[in-house]
């Protein structure tokens, strides 16, 4: 029986490790200086060996994901606080059901939601619409993680604060949140990692863009126009017919994997420190 169980485990682990090995070995050759500093341009650039890279996707990912995070964290933490600290509040049963529903919805539906609400009425794909869609992806994860982290804080801490005569909101902000912070940050990191790998909602909202904007350091250039992100560009490169673009797709895969792995281990480190 143990043999069978070990066999099953190998069946699971080996293919996934093969995937990682492939991504790294196929992509490493395209991962040069140009990759981080030049934009992609048309396919001929890669075919004729002219300098080409993914700077536009890296910058776009940075600005769009950061905007999404800035929007999702306050709302998600607020909803999590509501669920954990005001258990008696009449809104909570509904909030819990809705948050779980949002959490269980496929990411593409979050893209469709923003498409119908933002892209269709304004008539333009934009990085901001992409950030909104990713924000909706992050939001329920952050709310759940916040609730989980707060519910681990012992009640005695709240009681101590209240006994000092502090109002409830001060107790929550000054005593409960700091104790729960490592768990909270981990939750935010998980949400960020999940959203950073999503391509589907971005295809419907920020669309994609092969070029760096005129002013590559200006976030508005990405947020107000169709913009590129790594996962969505990786998809476009992989389904393109050009060999050189496939190599760049593998390289984009390395960057995405590295991002996810770094975020993952930072999160683990934080939770371990807290215990």
């Amino acid at each position: 029986m143990l043999g069978l169980i070990i066999l099953a485990s190998l069946v699971v682990l080996v293919p996934l490790l093969i995937v990682i090995w492939y991504v790294v070995s196929q992509g490493v050759s395209a991962l040069n200086g140009d990759f981080f500093t030049k934009d992609l341009g048309g396919p001929t650039r890669a075919q004729f060996g002219q300098p080409t890279g993914m700077a536009q996707a890296i910058a776009g990912t940075f600005f769009i994901d950061l905007t999404a995070l800035l929007m999702a964290v306050p709302v998600g933490v607020g909803a999590g606080l509501m669920l954990a600290e005001y258990k008696e509040h009449p809104l909570n049963p509904l909030l819990r059901v809705m948050n779980d529903t949002l959490n269980g919805m496929p990411a593409i539906l979050k893209g469709l939601l923003i498409f119908t609400l933002v892209v269709r009425p304004t008539g333009t794909f934009s990085g901001f619409a992409g950030a909104l869609a990713l924000g909706v992806v992050m939001l329920p994860i952050i709310a759940r993680a916040t609730e989980g982290a707060l519910s681990l804080v012992p009640w005695s801490i709240r009681e101590a604060g209240l006994a000092l005569g502090l109002p409830r909101w001060r107790v929550i902000l000054a005593a409960v949140l700091p104790v729960a912070r490592p768990g909270l940050v981990t939750g935010v990191l998980i949400a960020f990692a999940r959203a950073a790998g999503e391509a589907a909602p971005l295809l419907l909202t920020s669309l994609g863009n092969n070029f760096l904007p005129r002013d590559p350091w200006n976030p508005l250039e990405y947020l107000t126009k169709a913009a590129d992100t790594l996962p969505q560009r990786l998809y476009a490169l992989a389904v393109s017919p050009y060999k050189q673009w496939h190599a760049m797709g593998w390289a984009a895969g390395i960057v995405l994997l590295a991002l996810v792995i770094v975020v993952f281990f930072v999160g683990r480190l934080l939770t371990r420190k807290a215990h």
């Binding site: 070990i6 699971v12 005001y86 539906l109 939601l113 119908t116 109002p167 992989a238 496939h246």
Partner: protein, 316 residues
């Protein structure tokens, strides 16, 4: 608690709770908005083809303006169920290994790897599938079988389908890989939650390790494992990018083994940019609406299973 607070802080409490209520309402609002906007856009094709006609129509043809969603619904259900069936036993095996058999250091290692694998973005699996797995399967499996069938069993080639490499089986395999870490993590947590008294009682009766597992642990963890499987199924239903890259994207009834097909999320991603006329776009949004409904049902079912089957949880 409030009686202790002075007037100023009561204002602070009210303001804070109001702020939280507003933020909570944003979450509630987003959920409602999702159902409402998708439903509103879906109204147009639904009134034109009828609810039943849209759901069971087998023809999806943007050129003649006829939209029936049955091929993509069927494609979604087939790939997701097959992926769950393929991945369930290996995932349970890995969960048991990690929760019951492995020494501490190995269990920690397995947990790390599983959680990390769950975090791999689906595009990354997708590029591996489209550039490595699909061509390999085509050259080594599909084409030999197809050629053998055309020579030796000519009647069978029809349901085998065109062996391009991009089709139902390839998409299902990658989908199975994708949900394995998810099923494993949920099953592992369910097994870990089994109280040690359960095990000790079985050990005390002279059960072997396998018997302890079979008699005491697995029945107790059944609810959590089943709920986890249902959630994984929901995950597979909504998985978009990797499937869109691998399934071949043909909006016909998926009646062949190797041939191309489509799923609800994949058709949305694929036809979105080409959907110039409103009926086509709204039909895609209607597919999204039904994807919403199906996901909702699956999530509610998982919650229900969790409540009903987890011991000590029945009353709540």
């Amino acid at each position: 608690m409030r009686s202790l607070a002075n007037k100023g802080s009561r204002f602070g409490d009210t303001a804070f709770l109001t702020l939280l209520t507003v933020l909570g309402l944003v979450v509630v609002g987003l959920g409602v908005l999702m159902a409402w906007t998708l439903g509103k856009e879906a109204a147009d094709p639904l009134s034109r083809f009828g609810l039943f006609g849209f759901l069971t129509g087998t023809k999806w043809d943007p050129v003649s303006g006829v939209f029936g969603a049955w091929p993509v619904i069927l494609g979604t259900l087939i790939t997701s169920s097959a992926a769950l069936l393929l991945s369930f036993l290996p995932a349970i095996g890995l969960a048991i290994l990690s929760a019951e058999y492995a020494p501490r250091w190995l269990a920690t290692g397995i947990d790390y790897v599983v959680d990390l694998l769950a975090a791999i973005p689906s595009v990354v699996l997708g590029i591996w599938g489209i550039l490595v797995l699909a061509p390999a399967l085509r050259d080594n499996v599909y084409r030999p079988i197809y050629l053998w069938a055309t020579e030796n069993a000519p009647g069978q080639a029809a349901w085998l389908g065109n062996p391009t490499g991009y089709g139902l089986i390839t998409a299902t395999l990658v989908l199975a890989l994708m949900i394995v870490p998810y099923t494993t993590a949920l099953a592992r947590d369910a097994i870990r939650l089994v109280p040690s008294e359960q095990r000790e009682a079985a050990w005390g009766l002279g059960a072997t390790r396998w018997e302890v597992l079979r008699v005491a642990v697995l029945p107790y963890a059944r609810g959590g494992i089943t709920a986890g499987a249902v959630l994984s199924f929901g995950r597979a239903l909504g998985e978009t990018i990797a499937v869109a890259m691998l399934i071949g994207n043909s909006v016909r009834l998926p009646l062949t083994l190797f041939g191309p097909a489509s799923t609800m999320p994949s058709i949305i991603v694929n036809e979105f940019r080409e959907a110039v006329d409103n009926l086509h776009l709204n039909s895609l949004l209607a597919v999204g609406f039904f994807l919403f409904i199906i996901s909702l049902i699956v999530n509610l079912a998982a919650a229900w299973v969790q409540r009903r089957l987890v011991p000590g949880n029945e009353g709540s």
